[in-house]
Symmetry: C2
Subunit: 395 residues, 2 copies
């Protein structure tokens, strides 16, 4: 058995980012940039007014001055002439500052009458003026490669005049659920059968992590069915199986994939839930074998699959973020396996482990807000102690 | 001017959840349930083994007992007979417990030879058995209406045998950017022009918040163009405009929409950035007028548009979550306006406000990790004090 950290490092070591595709800016949210985004122009392109008001020469901006309005410069329509002594030009937020002007009189500090404006508050040179390039300059890097594109980044790329962006292709994750006992949701359930929950939960998980899920048909418990599943996964960036990864006589996944050239890296991890995790390669394709147990499969997905998808997306593929939280109830000492305990989190941040942690209980998993991470041989913990938790959010 | 909380309450008060649509389970991730999801079956459907091993009668489970193996019950293939005294049936995780058996001997505690199994560790009645209904019972509510569907919820709905779910339609948000000076990204920028960044940043924002964005053509600064934009928004659940919401002579949005029956509710809020926020209705359609400034538009979107989209999605439409953070630098006293200050957040959680807070600076906005919220008349703050922050995540 190897540790969680070792296993994750082994998985990530062999993964490379996917290729590059061009997407419309309108579809770029949440994607990972494959190339830096340079500004194609300077923003603002010239000195502009930050407020509605009047452009004038600072020398004319003294209290009581009366200036002739010689024109206006609404945003998008710069004033063609220049502002001379004793003159003012009406402008608006974003208006280019006309030639000759170096100060802005705010609208609320101005009195208008008969084509003249009276200065009611002295205005200093440069105030309320956004300088050319204050936001960014042509050629400057606005967004770096490897960055996940936020809504604000979309705005910044737009402002930099980019209608298209180069991003990494979403990693295609083929999901193969195995087992004679499972049927698809909504189908008739035979005696001894259960409804497959892993494949679609994992597909949603893959979506949440930035990948593209391909749900393969369920493979029954035969070598041929599993090998056929492996064939169907061709073209994916990773094959994820669920079930059949442990040592039971009916755990045929390893054998079935071996018929298609699986080279096994490891298959046992010192963690709970989720001991029988398998990792290897079939030719170029990495293969991650998750346990069949829905809770174990999910926890392993959080710890291993999400970083893997991130790495293939062009992101670092970080270790899941743990944060401190106050424990709401005592916990017994932990054994040699790193333990991920389903827990709720109260509005005050206190975490409360569910009393029953059976890894078959999907309802408890869905109700959980967090996983409490307990290192191997963690001693008993009292209520009020600080523990490390992984917040599940929309996963 | 009204406060941020008053404004939000006014906006939310008039909003109702969208209608219901049926989506495939595979497309349900992130949607909001419009009806509770009941379990269509009991899970597990019968007492099942939690481990690989042997089913036997607890009375036979003493150290050294030797039991005849009378059959096997792989998952999906229940054993048809019963386990009698001195007998055992091979089973696997998830196998139905055969009649007569009330205990499970773990595989690792069993020695096999000549069709017999020897008990190497005494086994108690009920251990390693998952009881029928341990996860959930037929008819039970698995997921409540109004819940945003997580990846785990998809798994739970699948386990409850649901291939379809009833969810609220994604609120359709029509986005109308206005201004003679703006052009679409990638197009030629005339003198005095700038590239429109708001519409696509807001479209990504709407997506992130669970809505469906409709980006309308840019409306120039004329009453007719704005009224035409209002016409194009027909069928949307909300019209969001950017720009032209303040009092300048070229701020025509209110007047343009008035020609289509806009009834104004309010249009000034005591906040920074973002004072000229407008809210009203055109017939049935709520209209939210955001400032033209990209930073102001974004901050107003976080404070007002996201809760509005959530409310229309069937969620409560909560006040944005503020969390405490340690301030990394001193801040001056605040005036009468609630202030949202762009800041970075270090790995240790400390927040550092950007020195320049000009609301025209998109680059600073994109680099920000958080907004520091400062209430009206907040006194000066020293580095090390605790402030309230709003984490921006992927927005």
């Amino acid at each position: 058995m190897i540790s969680v950290d070792e296993a994750r490092a082994k998985i990530l070591a062999g993964l490379a980012p996917t290729g590059i595709e061009t997407v419309a800016l309108a579809n770029a949210f949440g994607r990972v940039l494959a190339a830096p985004v340079h500004a194609r122009l300077t923003q603002p392109p010239a000195d502009v007014s930050a407020m509605d008001g009047f452009a004038l020469r600072a020398a004319d901006g003294f209290l009581g001055a009366r200036l002739r309005i010689v024109g206006e410069a609404p945003a998008g329509h710069p004033f063609g002439g220049a502002v001379g002594p004793g003159e003012a030009v009406r402008l608006f937020t974003g208006s280019f500052l006309p030639k000759g002007a170096d100060a802005v009189l705010l609208q609320e500090d101005a009195d208008l009458a008969d084509g003249f404006v009276t200065v009611n508050d002295a205005c200093a040179a440069g105030r309320h003026i956004r300088r050319a390039g204050q936001d960014f300059s042509k050629g400057e890097i606005l967004l770096t490669a490897g960055r996940k594109i936020s809504a604000r980044d979309v705005g910044l790329a737009a402002a930099g005049n980019h209608p298209w962006l180069a991003v990494h292709r979403r990693p295609r994750i083929a999901i193969l659920a195995t087992g004679d006992e499972i049927v698809l949701p909504g189908e008739a359930v035979p005696a001894g059968g259960i409804v497959s929950s892993n494949a679609h939960a994992l597909a949603a998980f893959v979506t949440a992590a930035g990948g593209e899920a391909i749900v393969l048909p369920i493979a029954g418990d035969s070598l041929a069915a599993i090998a056929a599943g492996a064939d169907a996964a061709r073209g994916a960036d990773m094959l994820v199986t669920t079930g059949g990864a442990s040592v039971g006589a009916h755990d045929l996944v390893q054998a079935g994939l071996a018929a298609r050239g699986l080279e096994l890296d490891f298959w046992k991890i010192a963690m709970r839930p989720g001991k029988p995790l398998m990792f290897g390669r079939m030719g170029d394709m990495p293969v991650l074998g998750l346990p069949g147990n829905p809770v174990s499969a999910f926890v392993c997905a959080v710890l291993f699959l999400r970083p893997a998808i991130e790495r293939m997306s062009g992101l670092p593929g970080a270790v899941p973020l743990l944060e401190p939280a106050i424990l709401g109830a005592a916990m017994k000492p932990n054994d040699q396996r790193e333990d991920y305990v389903r827990a709720t989190r109260a509005p005050d941040g206190k975490v409360m482990p569910f009393e029953r942690q059976d890894s078959g209980m999907l309802k408890t998993l869905a109700r959980a807000d967090a996983l409490i991470m307990r290192p191997p041989f963690d001693p008993a913990r009292e209520a009020g102690e600080t523990v490390s938790v992984l917040i599940l959010h929309d996963l």
